[in-house]
Structures are given as C-alpha cells and as structure tokens.
C-alpha cells in the first residue's frame, strides 16, 4: 500500500519554502475534505513535522515535538485524523474513508514513533492496494485485477494454454460453422438455376434430352445440402456439448484443488459465496464463451465476410446496383437495434428491481411471521406485500405492452433491406437486366447478411463478462499459498511443549491483532484463554495451528520452529473442537473417524466413550451407522459437540485445542461435555478458549488477553489475587450466577 504520494509542483514549492534544511519527507498522504468541500490536499510527514498543504498553500505545520496521542476516527461519510498539540486535541485533517483509512491507520503508528524522535524506523505496508495503481479504478470485487489495465493478449495466451487436449474438439465447431455456411450460400445458387432453367424458363431453346434427370439432380442437391447441414448441426452440437462439459469439468476441478491447497488466510479473505460463485458461475461464463459464443461469433463473421464478397462479385457480374440496396439500410438497422437494446435493458432493470423488492419483502415477512402474528400486524404485512406486487405488476404490464409493440417494428426494420431489394429487383426485372433466379439469390444472401447484425451488438457485453470471469478464475489459479511448507518438511512426533516468542500478527498489517506476545507452555499443561471478544484469542490459536504465519516473532513446538514442521504432520497431531461444529453428510462413524479414515470400529467406540458420546449414539436408530449432517438425522448442539470431541480424540493428539467448544450449550449439557473434556486434557497440552469461566476450572494456568497483549498469565489463584481483569470477570460471573 502506497504511503508516499507525489506532491504537485505548487505543493512542492510550498513545502520547500516552509521546510528546514535537514528535513526528509518520510510519508505523504492525500486528504480530501475541508469543512464541506472536496479538495485534493496533501499531508506531508517529515522526520520533524507534519505539513498540511492544499493547492500550493501551506495550511498548517505541526512539529512532532509538540504532538502526541494520534488517532483516526471513522465519522459518517468521512474519516478524520486527530492528534494532541501541546496536549490539546486537534483535528489534523479529514479524508474520505475507504481508500485512505488503512494508510492513516499506519500513520498513527508511524507518528507515535516520530513523536518519540525515532525517525529510524520507516513504516511500510504489505497490504495490497484495492485500487489499480495505474488508473485508480477499483479492482474486480475480491481480486487484484484491473479490467481496464490487464493485458488482453496475456489473457488469451493463458486461455490458450488451458485448452490443451480440447483443441481439436474446439476447432470442430469452427469447421462445421464454415461448412454449414458454405452450404447456405450454395443452396441459393442451385435455386437460381432451378428457377431460371425450369420454372421461369428464360432460355428460349427447347429442353435438353435428359432435363428430367438434370432437374432431379438440382432438386436432390437442394434437399441433400439441407440434410447435410442438419447433420452437421447435430454433430456440432454433440461435439460442443462434450468439449464444453470437459472444459468445465477440467477448470472446476483445477479451481477446487487450488482452493483446497490455499492457506487459511487467502481462503478467509474470500467468502464462501464468492468462492462458490467463481467455481460455479464464472467457470460457466468462461465455458459458454469458449465453446458456444466464440464459434458462433466466428461463424457470424465468416458468414458476413463471405456474403459480402459473394454479393459484390455477383453484383459486378450483373452490372446492377443491387448491393447498394442491401447495405444502405444496415447502419440504420444497427442504430435501431442498439437504441432498442438500451431501452429494453432500462426497462428490464426496472422490472428486475421491482421483482427483487417483492422477493425481499416476501422473505422478510415470511421469516418474521411469528413476530407479525404475536404483535397482530397481519394487516400491515399484507398491505406492504400488496404494494410491492402491485408495483411489480404495473411495471411488467408496461414493459410487455411496449415490447410487444416494438418487437414487430424491429422485425420490420430488419427486413426493410429485403423490401428495398424486392422493389429495385423488380424494376430491374421488368427492364430485363435481371433474372428471377438472380433476384431470388440476392434476396437469400441479403437475409444471410442481416442475420449476424442482431448478434453483433451483444459482442462487447459478452466479451467484457468473459474477461471479468476469466480474470477471477485465473486469480485463484495463480495465487501462491501464503503459508507454505519449506522445501523438505520434516515429520516430528510432538510432545507438546509450545513456546510463543515475541509474536506480532494482524490479518491486515495496518491493524495488528496480537502485539509482541510471548508465552511458554509445558507438555501436558492445560491453558485457559480468556478475554473480550475480538481481543485475539482465536488468532493466537490459529497461529499455533499454523493457519497463518506470524508477521514478527516465531512459534516453536518442542524447540522446533513451526515452519520446519510439515503442515500435514503438524495438523495430524492436533485435535480441534470449534464452537460451531460442522458434521459432514455421512454416518456418525464416518464423522468420528474423519481425521483417520482407517480407524477401527473399536477405536471409534473408544473415542466416543471418552467424549461421553457413546450413550447417546447407542440411542440413535441406527447406532454408529446413523446418517447425520445436512440431510440426515439432526443432532442437538451438545450431541454434535460430543461427536466433534470424539473426532478430535480419535488419533490421540498430543495437542488439543478447544475454541469455545461449550459456549453454545446450556449448563446441563456443558456439564456432560465438561466431564468429557476433563478426561481428555490429562497428559495433553490443551488450549481452551472460554467465555464461561467454569469451563476452565481445571486449567493449570489462565491466560488473559486484552487488546492483543498478554494482560495476565498465571494460575487461577494468582490471578484472583492480582485483582485485575480476571478477577473482574470472575466477580461478574459469580454475581450473575448468584442473581439467578
């Protein structure tokens, strides 16, 4: 992320006039708002002062020696950068939110350092920009692709590389398209001969001997060609279906494999919906373009050019000016189609908006039906819905009426060329300069020429949809996993001594979640982790599981840096129970042995017993074979959680992680699970995050995290005596319990 913006010459002059000799510009950020007006000013941060410059004028200068307590605040529609000047709060500047907020967030840290007189440490940001550096436009949602700046040839080159093995099949539709086009153009020639020789009979000479056979041949040719073109069409569709589906399958598998290989951090940045969209919709868009649209466009273009040549040569041979009449209406027709499309789009968006509103209202009202009924607001709900549907109906009516009027007109416009040809051709016919056969031929070619026009107007839209989707697909395929194994990862058998050394980490570098955290845990200890939500508890756990790599510092298990242990090896020796357990569709047995697919039934039962799950599983209709998950038997929250514990236990991991495993359960169930947990934690290094402190009564040590720092660390008694955050939490919960 850019922290050193350019100064305009005027601004630079203003800065030079004000700055001292030994001042260096360290950072320069834009500020955008001055009271109620948008401006394009600069905040210049040197090793000594902050300069606020706008339109070549120095508006303010603050020396770091007088500044302290920097903050940024998000206001409404803007943000502001504050600091204290001689201890008095002052608003240094205001700026628009999205683009500059992360920059100023870093500047807060940088300024704190500068105010301490520490100009040596220069802050930078590894956070990627969300806007194109070249044109300033935003990247495609959730990506780093600028559709305006990405090189088109690069895109097509990569695409070509992906069609390996499918190229012949993809070439086929192009070939058949050309062939069937050729036939389209040959048939009118035969028709011409048929008309001129036999139907109108221009030639005054008597029929040849074998005229019957000759005519039969021509008629047969016409029928034969149309049969061939039908067959070609069938073959083409079949081949397109195969190549299209193979391409989709190939791309989807590739994409899914890659998503599974990516590290947690890259996956977490994208929502499930976004990933599903890319794997499903974007791949479909790319496939449709490659196997359907592209051959079709190719065919249209070939057809158009071929038709053009044919018509022109024919015209030159005849010496008439028929082609003029074919081409004259084309610009008007294109204009008409374009205008019509734009109007249609506007109306369709309008009606889509109304439809969307109806859907939303319906969903809102139906899912809230209990509330509606309990407050007796049925009438209001009906009114609201009626209003939506009425609006939608009105809009749809309007659209339908208009479309039904305009469509025939559009058809008429498209055919207007033919009418002109008819008129002019007939004039020529009467003059004797043109035969009926030739007239028919011209007419057929004209209609072939007009057909692609309808499609041409859709090409830009389809190409832009394709490049966007393809870019999104490629972005995932080319992404490097952030957390990757070293060249030769080792397999270690872990004992469970965990030490965290000066770890600093943030999901976005401008906003560290953990700051300089150090911690030593001996094998077999149980550590309870407490703190407010968002204080960094889960983040610490994620780092220990190596879902992410720390920004600074390191984590070691048994004295070995996490980075040297293969991820596969590491995770196979950890058991994790999360707050929300996901059970996959399948039997209870499959879910328990998820981490160890070849576990024996004996081991499954042992794990289930240890998790206090055996008894309830035996009460299920089909015991361990009962299907659970999305479409199966629905287990209660406590039961699911016990299955999850069994799953975490089956491979007897030396490190166990419980991330609020009991938070969503009632006290009774928690008790049962607590008993299960108590059994597990012996001889295992356990990290347990909990809001309910009773869960942690057996913990050897309690770790209190506050705003990314370790606030307190020690045994239950030690912390109570400290009377700090832990004491406060215990008191609050006991009091709440007593009040009950």
């Amino acid at each position: 992320m850019k922290l050193l913006f350019d100064l305009s010459p005027a601004d630079k002059a203003a800065f030079d006039a004000a700055a001292g000799e030994d001042e260096r510009i360290l950072y320069c950020l834009p500020f955008d708002i001055e009271f109620q007006t948008r401006v394009d000013g600069r905040m210049v941060f040197t090793n000594k002062s902050i300069y606020k410059i706008n339109e070549g004028k120095l508006e303010a200068k603050w020396d770091f020696s007088r500044l302290s307590d920097f903050t940024v605040e998000t206001l409404y529609g803007c943000c502001a950068f504050f600091g204290k000047v001689d201890g008095v709060s002052t608003r240094l500047c205001r700026f628009i939110s999205g683009r500059n907020m992360p920059r100023y967030a870093i500047m807060v840290d940088a300024c704190e350092e500068l105010a301490k007189g520490n100009a040596g440490k220069v802050f930078s940001s590894s956070e990627p920009e969300r806007y194109c550096q070249k044109c300033g436009r935003p990247f495609v949602m959730h990506t780093h692709i600028c559709p305006f700046c990405q090189s088109k040839s690069e895109t097509y080159k990569r695409l070509w590389g992906m069609t390996k093995g499918l190229r012949l099949m993809m070439l086929f539709p192009l070939l058949t398209a050309v062939l069937s086009l050729g036939i389209q153009y040959v048939v009118p020639v035969l028709q011409k001969i048929l008309i001129n020789e036999y139907i109108v009979r221009v030639n005054p000479e008597p029929f040849e001997e074998n005229w019957k056979l000759h005519m039969l041949l021509i008629v047969g040719g016409i029928i034969g060609f149309s049969v061939i073109s039908q067959i070609l069409g069938i073959v083409q569709s079949r081949v397109a279906a195969v190549s299209g589906n193979r391409f989709t399958r190939f791309l989807r598998t590739l994409l899914f494999e890659k998503v599974q290989m990516l590290s947690m951090s890259s996956v977490q940045k994208k929502s499930t919906g976004d990933l599903m969209g890319r794997i499903n919709n974007d791949v479909s868009v790319v496939q449709n373009f490659m196997t359907n649209l592209l051959p079709s466009y190719f065919g249209q273009i070939v057809s158009f050019v071929l038709g053009l040549v044919l018509v022109l040569t024919l015209d030159a041979k005849q010496g008439t000016h028929m082609s003029l009449f074919i081409f004259l209406p084309i610009p008007f027709v294109i204009l008409f189609i374009l205008a019509f499309r734009r109007m249609m789009r506007r109306l369709n968006i309008k009606s889509w908006q109304k439809g969307r509103r109806t859907n939303q209202t319906l969903q809102d009202l139906l899912s809230g039906i209990r509330v509606i009924k309990t407050y007796g607001r049925e009438k209001a709900a009906v009114d609201e819905f009626t209003d939506c549907t009425a609006q939608q109906a009105r809009q749809n009516e309007k659209n339908a009426k208009l479309f039904d009027t305009v469509f025939p007109l559009l058809g008429f416009a498209l055919r207007s060329g033919s009418y002109l040809i008819m008129w002019y051709g007939n004039v020529q016919l009467f003059n004797g300069t043109l035969g009926v056969g030739e007239l028919n031929q011209f007419n057929s070619y004209a209609s072939i020429l007009y057909a692609p026009l309808m499609q041409i107007t859709t090409i830009p839209r389809n190409i832009s949809a394709f490049t966007t989707s393809f870019g999104k697909v490629m972005e995932i395929l080319e992404e490097e996993p952030e957390v990757s194994d070293i060249a030769k990862p080792q397999h270690f058998t872990l004992k469970g001594n965990v030490s965290v050394k000066h770890v600093t980490f943030g999901y976005e570098s401008s906003n560290p979640v953990l700051r300089d955290v150090s911690l030593d845990v001996k094998a077999g200890e149980m550590i309870g982790i407490v703190g407010h939500s968002g204080c960094g508890k889960s983040t610490l756990i994620n780092l220990i599981m190596r879902m992410y790599d720390p920004t600074e510092g390191s984590i070691e298990i048994d004295g070995v840096n996490l980075k040297e242990i293969g991820q596969q090896s590491l995770r196979s020796q950890m058991g994790v129970v999360l707050q929300e357990t996901h059970l996959f569709s399948g039997s209870v047995r499959d879910n328990i042995r998820y981490a160890m697919p070849y576990a024996t039934d004996d081991e499954v039962i042992r794990a289930a017993r240890a998790a206090n799950a055996h008894d309830f599983i035996m009460n299920l209709p089909q015991g361990y074979n009962t299907i659970v998950g999305e479409k199966g038997y629905s287990l209660s929250g406590g039961e699911r959680q016990r299955v999850a514990i069994a799953r975490a236990l089956i491979h007897n991991p030396p490190i166990l992680i419980l991330d609020e495993a009991t938070a969503a359960l009632d006290t009774e169930t928690e008790k049962q699970i607590q008993d299960a947990i108590d059994q597990l934690t012996t001889n295992r290094t356990t990290f347990a995050i909990a809001h309910r402190l009773s869960t942690l009564r057996n913990a050897d040590k309690i770790l209190v995290i506050d705003h990314g720092h370790i606030a307190e660390f020690g045994t239950h008694l030690e912390l109570l005596n400290q009377r700090g955050i832990y004491y406060k939490l215990v008191m609050a919960q006991t009091r709440a319990a007593l009040e009950k």
């Binding site: 948008r38 302290s68 206001l75 529609g77 999205g98 949602m141 908006q353 506050d706 700090g724």
Partner: protein, 201 residues
C-alpha cells in the same frame, strides 16, 4: 508507541478498588444550558464543563456530538460523548441534548453554533446537484456528478443495493469507499440527470 490506558491496574490500586467501582458505569444526564457549558478549545474542537446532579463539576477537554436520528431528526436527540479511545470501543455518553434549539439562547453562548459546526464535519453527505455521466463497466458503476462539495467522480459496486430511497423521497447513494451522497429531491434534478438515476429509484 504511547502508553495506552487499559483496565490493568497495579496491585495496590486494585486492592483499594471495591467491587462497586469495578462495575461502575457513567450515568448519562440530560444536558441543558444550565448544567452544560460548551466552549471552543484552543485545538478548534469542543470542550464541555458539566455540572452533575450531585453538584460535582466535570471538565472534558474534547467531546463528540453524535446524532441519534441523523436522517429523520438531525436537530434533536444529540448525544454528547467522550471520543473513541484508540484501542477501546466507543466512548461513554456524557449526556444528551433533547433539542439543539434549547441551546440557541443567549445564556448558552455559542454552544449551538459550535455543535452544529462539528456535526457538519462529522456527517459528510454532499448533495448531488447534477449527474454528468453514468456508466456501467466490468461490474462497477462510474458516476460523475456535481455536488454541494464540488465535482466528484465516484464508483458504486451494485446500484440496486447502494441506492436507497427514503419514504420522504430523499435518495442516499453509497460508493465503494464508504462515502455517502444524497439527492434531496430527485424530481428537481434536470431532465438528463434524472433519467440517469431514475431506473434505480
């Protein structure tokens, strides 16, 4: 990095802290010209001296006014709060002003003007006067408009969800940067501007 004030206390301090102190919350009071004196600080922000019901006088170097109903009643129910601290959540509410007009009396000094000015800086929602161009490319909408804050180009991700029409006819438009623009009355826009935004209303 400056020392951030957390709730961690030294053992001696904590030992003196009774349970009552640990759970004490600030109680918000109604602010009137009688108990609240707003002044402009030397840093250009608002300071407040407030007299609590028990007669205790508190001084706040900087306060932040926040509207409870920024859209429906921007002049009423204004919460006067302590600023957000850097690490912590939202600052506590010191008190609430029922109506800003209560402070438009000579005894309140320039209080109303001060608060109005500060609110004007907090809520930055330029009003759109003219729409020069609107185009949709690669999944984003690009707008070029003249607003009360000058000419602005902004980008919107999905107009169907980023443009909201209120019951009173006002239109709010949100861009991808978190900025907000308003159209006070779409019917009063010139014809070509209106046509550009019309389909989303």
């Amino acid at each position: 990095m400056a020392e951030t004030k957390t709730t961690v206390q030294t053992p001696e301090e904590a030992a003196q802290a009774t349970e009552k102190d640990l759970f004490a919350h600030r109680i918000s009071i109604d602010l009137t010209p009688d108990n609240a004196k707003f002044t402009k600080s030397s840093g250009g922000l608002i300071s407040l001296e407030v007299t609590q019901p028990d007669g205790k006088v508190e001084f706040f170097e900087r306060i932040v006014p926040v509207r409870a109903f920024p859209i429906s009643s921007p002049e009423e129910f204004i919460s006067i709060r302590q600023p957000d601290t850097r690490m912590g959540g939202r600052g506590d509410e010191i008190g609430m002003i029922r109506r800003l007009s209560d402070f438009r009396v000579p005894s309140a000094g320039e209080a109303a003007a001060l608060i109005e000015d500060e609110l004007g800086r907090r809520y930055f929602t330029p009003a759109i006067r003219k729409i020069h161009s609107f185009s949709e490319k690669f999944g984003y909408c690009y707008w070029d408009v003249t607003t009360s804050a000058g000419r602005v180009e902004f980008i919107m991700s999905n107009p169907a969800s980023s443009i909201r029409t209120l019951e009173d006819g006002r239109v709010f438009m949100y861009d991808i940067d978190g900025n907000c623009f308003t159209i006070e009355d779409p019917a009063k826009l010139d014809k070509s501007s209106y046509k550009k935004v019309e389909i989303y209303l």
